[in-house]
């Protein structure tokens, strides 16, 4: 029936002019500011990031029959190949104590960084459906991709530590550094992802470019060789290489989790003061990433 739905008494709207709007506007509690990198409160950001990360993780885990086995297979296969090459063919790892553990740890840590950043590049564009349909903090999108890969890293690192114990590594008090180091690596990957995913919206060749850079980074980071190996050739070059935040984190991880006899990140850098360089790079990346997101956010929904 026409009108049946409106039978209940309704308030009669006021007839307000633009001057009254201005008066009322001052008293309105919420002003709509449009999309922002961090739309909504911080709690919503955390909830959504976690939800997206958890579901992405779950998809990977339960998406195939073998689930986690496949996730672990990739670093293990890579490890098997590299281990064979660098102990049997090119004897780089021959004299390094616990070389297999160092190699596996490096592969797993670096693997996390490259997988999460490469995955995050396209994340904002891929989540277009959300961004155009609902108001939410877009920063959540790349961060959630990194977080879901980080969940795999945590499991993988347990495997690395078991492997270390089986290889005769003795746990020391330094193992308390493992957690903070993983978090630091997470922050580095998240910062890079913010910058990359926002750049990708405008420039689609960011992805192939970054894939090449990631490849270069792999060889520029002491994963398959050790920093001592570089120090023998050139102490300065070793110092420069240690300014790469990934090198700093991986070396410190080796020092504290596997082989305390190997130089710590500070020693390899040549002093505490130099630690400021890799840390500064992470901070700069984080700032650049956040500001490029902030710049992108207001018009993102219409540009996608």
């Amino acid at each position: 029936m026409i009108g049946a739905a409106k039978e209940m008494s309704r308030p009669v709207a006021r007839d307000l002019g633009r001057e009254e709007y201005s008066e009322l506007a001052v008293r309105m509690p919420v002003r709509v500011v449009g999309p922002r990198a961090m739309s909504g409160d911080f709690r919503r950001f955390l909830t959504l990031t976690w939800m997206l990360a958890y579901l992405e993780f779950k998809l990977k885990f339960f998406g195939s029959v073998l689930g986690y086995a496949w996730q672990l297979m990739k670093p293990l296969m890579m490890f098997a190949v590299l281990y064979f090459v660098f102990t049997e063919v090119i004897r780089i790892g021959g004299g390094v104590p616990y070389y297999p553990v160092v190699l596996l740890s490096g592969i797993v840590l670096f693997g996390f960084f490259s997988e999460s950043t490469v995955g995050a590049i396209t994340s904002v564009v891929e989540r277009e459906g959300l961004i155009r349909k609902i108001s939410f903090p877009i920063v959540s999108v790349p961060i959630s991709t990194v977080t879901s890969v980080f969940l795999t890293l945590m499991l993988n690192y347990l495997v690395v530590l078991s492997f270390a114990l089986a290889s005769g590594v003795t746990p020391t008090w330094r193992w308390v550094q493992i957690g903070p180091l993983l978090v630091l690596l997470y922050i580095a990957a998240a910062s890079a992802s913010l910058a990359l995913s926002s750049l990708y919206v405008r420039f689609r060749d960011v992805k192939p470019i970054w894939e090449v850079i990631a490849q270069v980074l792999f060889y520029a980071t002491p994963v398959i060789y050790t920093i001592e190996f570089v120090q023998e050739k050139s102490a300065t070059l070793a110092q420069v290489m240690m300014c790469n935040p990934l090198a700093t984190i991986l070396q410190q991880m080796r020092h504290s989790a596997i082989d305390p006899a190997s130089p710590s990140a500070v020693d390899a850098l040549g002093g505490w003061l130099y630690l400021a360089i890799p840390m500064g790079i992470v901070v700069l990346m984080a700032l650049f990433g956040f500001f490029s997101m902030r710049r992108l956010a207001p018009n993102l929904a219409e540009e996608l």
């Binding site: 026409i2 308030p11 309105m28």
Partner: protein, 424 residues
Amino acid sequence: MPSVDQPQPIAADELPAVLVDGVSKHFSLPADRVQTLKERALHPIRSRERNSFTALDDVAFHVEKGEFFGLVGRNGSGKSTLLKCIAGIYSADSGEIYHDGTLTSFIELGVGFNPELPAFDNVLLNATLLGLDTEAARSSFEEVMDFAELWEFENLKLKNYSSGMYVRLAFSVMLQVDADILLIDEVLAVGDAAFQQKCFDQFNRMRDEGKTIVFVTHGMDAVRRFCDRAVLLDRGRVVAIGDAEEISERYLELNFVAPDSDAMTFDSAVGKATLSDCWVADSSGQRVDSLNQGERLAVHAEVTFEQPVTDPWVDIQFRDENDRLLMVSSTQPNAYGPGPAPSGDFATGETAHYVAEFDCIFAAGHYSVSISSGPDASYSRYFRRTDAVSVDVEGSAVSGATVVLPTDWHVEKAVPTANAGEPQ
């Protein structure tokens, strides 16, 4: 104590639910889009010329608390852009938008649904996106599944859901949202008439709970049935703000005046008459917007003439949801079949009341009626109103056929004749 029938006056110091104060929005599209760093590096000085068009131009209105408010306009009028600006999905170029109370937008059903995940995860994600916290989203699951009646498919991945199940799930999540202001785009365009009815029942329930609803639509039927007030937009500007009846009338006028794309080229509107009213009535003569399949249906059209005319013609057309033309009938003799007697003479200001009556053989569904009129023996016309009125035909059996013809069936045992069974 105020009687329930009395309109309640709003205290002067009470804040509106939504206040849109002079909002403008331009979309600018780069004329020649640079998509890669390589191009940017190779052509650093290429002009970054942008084509801009105005989607919203100084739009201002307010929505009182507890109102069911419509944003109406034709395609491209800016109504969805406006909704997205209020929802905070687009940023307005100038002007301010305020609201009082929590606000959620439903631009699409099932935002964030992932076909690879089962119902629980999808409900969790969708509810979180719509603003529930994790705990509330988790505990809402049971109610969602109860309402959607999908318990037996709980462990099924969403990709194995039928589209109807998908919509039911999405809609049930939406009902869990506890916001003061709900922004609703034409999410109801999906589903059949029964589902749409269910949607509107729920919206009404929400409104009765004191929530404010801002609803985008181009269906004047929905506006008249549900909205208290509405704003009519055309090309990004506010044409009118007023009660639902008034706005739907203005909308129809606007559609009449504006050159519509589906207008046949050989006829030009000569504008000597206007459609002053039209409606659908059932067999008892009551105005209705739905009736049962098979019932007698009557389309009433009142045409007011602005100058003396002789034997004007009136056509009605029925179209289904897919815009397929199902039926045309005319007062013009021999136009599309036998017509009635000529209309006769009308003086300036006189109104003719046309009634076209037939048994509604259309299958269950939503039908829109277009009405046009013109001078005798001529293809030129006074007006053509697409979607002048619409009607829901309700029926239980869904056969997939367009019409349900009353059919006489005869069954009898065939009597074998002498040569039956013999090779022909």
